[in-house]
Amino acid sequence: MEPLSSLKPLIAVLVSLGVVPILISSRNANVREAWTFGAAGLKFLIILSMLPTVLEGRELVCTLVEVLPGVALRLRVDALGMLFALVASSLWIITSAYSIGYMRGLDEHSQTRYFCFFALALSATIGAAFSANLFTLYLFYEMLSFATYPLVTHHQDAEARRSGRKYLLYIVGTSIGLVLPAMVISYHLSGTLEFSGQGFLPRSASPILLGVLLFMFLFGFAKAAIIPLHAWLPAAMVAPTPVSALLHAVAVVKVGVFSILRILTGVFGLDLLASLHLGTAVAYVAAFTIIVASLIALTQKEMKRLLAFSTIGQLSYIVLGAALLSPKGLMGGMVHIAMHAFGKITLFFCAGAIFVATGKKYINEMVGIGKRMPVTMTAFFIGALSIIGIPPGGGFLSKWYLVLGALQADQFPLLLVILVSSLLNAAYFIPIVYRAFFVGSRETNFPDTVSEAPIFCVAPLALTALISLALFFYPQPFLDLAQLAVQALLGGTGK
């Protein structure tokens, strides 16, 4: 069907950008946060209003300016982008509420700056989701890198500086050193950068060059945290928890894997990857990351670092799903974007809530905390279920599709990887939950005075936990979108 020309995608991207001057000028904290909410709500509504059109199978397009011959700054809303944008924008609302609870609870400094850059980062995320070509994607990808730097280094101390350096070195270093030349080479080969269902790279190019290009892209989008370019993610955990939650479980890392999905499907195309056996190569890289990250997570003592390594592993599920090149695998990967986002953000929120209420960061200090903060730890349990992939956690669905995808692709070793990794996930999450609830009162680390975090912290995490559960029973919007996306890629044979 003809794509629909519309300004909506542009407005959706610009809403949070437009609110920045207001945020800067408002002196009152309540007014400032009201504006943040307003922008977040508006953004979500605009994106939601485009959902019916996308579900009909139509695309919305907004072309701004042609910057290079054959390459325009263009936004296009398709099913995959819609899926990601829905996740990111809905979670921004929840995170805004959580931010208020967390930042005020800890009496953090420079909150205006914090909310401004948060809004900027969201603009970039939605922009990346709606990018119609590699250039637009790169633009928003870079914008996100720089907008998140002040968030990661929010504490402005020596540790933040070190982590900020590592963050930039990995993220910007790879995007300039690998993605940029790969992009120029792709343009040189094909004269366009526009994503298309079959990929735009010419079939005639030399296989070695194509292979090199693929890996330049794969490692260049270091936000996807594929080992060995993962080290920035645990380092970035020095950021305030809402930042880690939204950006390092949802926006930043997902933009990374989303970019890789676009590269695999829109730049190379599934047929090309299959004919060169490049899909399998990518799948094994992802599988390696999944296992190694899970193993490292087992050894972590700090809650947020554990979550970071868990994220690294889970991200590669998405890459793996796409790299299987089978319809079910693709669907699993895409749905996992949503499932993992809701699950992981719950876990981060819980870690932050515990920190706000008790100041504890290390896992071995959290013995018996379930008695004191039952809501938080129950939510943690649900989030963990979803990540491990046990019903009724939403993550079960995506893993189910991934398993089916591996079967469809006849990749038994990869099937094994998915199952083993789930076991490992259980191995690092379940003990935490167990020790939080099932310990005698003598062993507990917490006096009776400790209670739940402020309502602005607890309500969001309860909400995301509930959504995680609900997604198991009602996964329709995301499942439908993923199915549409797969159909578009395979020309209607997705079912």
């Binding site: 701004l64 042609e66 910057v67 290079l68 011959p69 633009l139 280094t153 402005q156």
Partner: protein
């Protein structure tokens, strides 16, 4: 009226400089408005000229009605119409920003300053507009001599640095003159197009080769092409900030234009690329310039001095891009003349603001700047992103064309050098941002909600507005790259490179 644009462009500021000089004696208050009016009208004329060229093709002008090759001949085509507009715009915007620091640092020299300023811009405009090789030399010296004097206005080591610049600049100009002399001996003409017409049968002559070599060395010296850059860092560092932000964006860029003009119009592309086959060698020289410029910048602990080495690296971008000898490389080089002029202007203006407030641009003056000078630092970030090459700032697009040119030409050394320099730029600028953001440690804590802390101490509005005009210009030019390339630069590409 519009047929006299090429002459007006040069004569307006030239005449104005006499009036400014007189006003400096009689009514010093009038100097600034006069200069502003002169450069403002030049800017309008240059934009009108650019419009004429876009709509009607190249424009020619015979000075005093003498036809070429006898009279002085001004020719404005797609290439120099763009450069003229850039020179006028940079000169105009920087003039606005110059006023507060002139009033603060040397109010008694306002008259001479504005006179020299306008004359300097006149010289550059003439160099770009002229179609006569000797006329170019005279205007080159006008720009150079006023430049020496402007730089010597600074404090401390400025005079000595300026004197070194005088020596090397004079050698460069003399080499250029010598090259033109050899061309004159063999062709008997000074008109660029006439020389180009007479040269082809003489391509094998040693005289032409010698002329070319001497001329190039002279031009490279004047643009600070590594390793002939020795004069540049000191001169630009110790010059007063409004002078640095005028000379650094324009002088090197205009010399790059002169190089392109000489190869394109005088010696012709065929000679430079097919007969001499110098391109491979020159691109490798450019690679060295880029790498060394970036590395030398890493060693500096003064923002302004660091920027001067970035200028050295950027000269390598343009020279290399041009000598790649393909369409993308040429487009990148010409686009980079525009972009780099704006980027360096933005950065030097920002540093000028820091110097204006803190009196210094060394690293010791940086801590806490994001808090005290948020607007200046914000613009510095935009400029830095452009140098790094982050879309949608314009720096990305010229880098894109240069990279594309490198790939099309199969010159992977140049490709690697560009990427290397981008990465080094990240390090260079984030070192500055880190100091401005993190130091002094602990200052941001304790003051809950961040509303406390040291008060804002910004540069005056007269400096902030031009700075932000430039910073926004970087983004706008970036977004309209397609238009600029499609309507202007594409028509300037010589046929051989297509």
């Amino acid at each position: 009226m519009s047929e006299h644009y090429p002459a007006l462009l040069v004569i307006l500021p030239l005449l104005a400089s006499f009036f400014i000089s007189a006003a400096g004696w009689l009514r010093p208050v009038c100097c600034f408005p006069l200069a502003l009016a002169a450069l403002g009208s030049s800017l309008l004329v240059s934009l009108g000229l650019l419009g004429d060229v876009i709509s009607g093709g190249p424009v020619s002008y015979w000075m005093g009605g003498w036809p070429p090759p006898w009279g002085i001949y001004y020719r404005v085509d797609y290439l120099n119409a763009l450069v003229l507009a850039v020179v006028c715009a940079v000169g105009f915007v920087n003039l606005i920003a110059a006023r507060p620091s002139v009033e603060k640092d040397f109010p008694e020299k306002a008259g001479p300053f504005y006179t020299l300023y306008v004359l300097f811009v006149t010289g550059l405009l003439g160099m770009v507009a002229t179609g006569d090789a000797f006329n170019l030399y005279v205007l080159l010296e006008i720009a150079a001599i006023t430049g020496y004097a402007l730089i010597a206005l600074g404090k401390g080591r400025a005079a000595l640095s300026s004197l070194h610049y005088v020596f090397l600049g004079t050698i460069g100009a003399c080499f250029y003159l010598l090259g033109v002399g050899y061309l004159y001996i063999i062709t008997g003409s000074l008109n660029m197009e006439d020389i180009a017409r007479l040269l082809p049968p003489l391509y094998e002559s040693k005289v032409v080769t010698v002329a070319f070599a001497i001329l190039m060395v002279g031009v490279w010296l004047k643009m600070g092409f590594f390793p002939l850059h020795a004069w540049l860092p000191n001169a630009y560092t110790y010059a007063p900030s409004p002078v640095s932000s005028l000379v650094a964006p324009l002088m090197t860029k205009v010399m790059v234009y002169v190089m392109i003009r000489m190869v394109l119009t005088v010696f012709t592309v065929d000679f430079a690329f097919l007969v001499l086959r110098l391109n491979e060698v020159v691109v490798w020289l450019a690679v060295i310039a880029i790498v060394m410029g970036s590395l030398l910048a890493l060693a500096e602990k003064d923002v302004k001095r660091m920027l001067t080495f970035i200028v050295v690296a950027e000269v390598g971008y343009m020279v290399g891009g041009f000598w790649l000898g393909n369409q993308a490389g040429f487009t990148g080089a010409v686009l980079h003349i525009l972009n780099d002029a704006l980027m360096t202007l933005c950065l030097f203006l920002a540093v000028g603001n820091i110097v204006h407030v803190n009196g210094d641009s060394r690293w010791e003056s940086l801590p806490g700047l994001f808090r005290t000078m948020p607007w200046t630092m914000g613009a510095l970030v935009v400029g830095a992103l452009s140098i790094i090459g982050v879309p949608p700032t314009c720096g990305f697009f010229s880098k894109w064309y240069l990279l594309l040119g490198a790939i099309q030409g199969g010159h992977y050394g140049f490709l690697v050098a560009l990427l290397f320099s981008s990465l080094v730029s990240v390090v260079l600028f984030f070192r500055i941002f880190e100091i401005g953001f993190f130091e002094p440690f602990g200052a941001s804590h304790g003051s809950a909600h961040g509303e406390g802390g040291p008060a804002i101490q910004e540069a005056p509005l007269g400096m902030l507005v031009p700075l932000w005009m430039t910073a926004l210009g970087l983004i706008l030019v970036g977004l309209y790259t397609g238009e600029i390339v499609g309507r202007v630069i594409r028509h300037a590409v010589p046929g051989m490179m297509l």
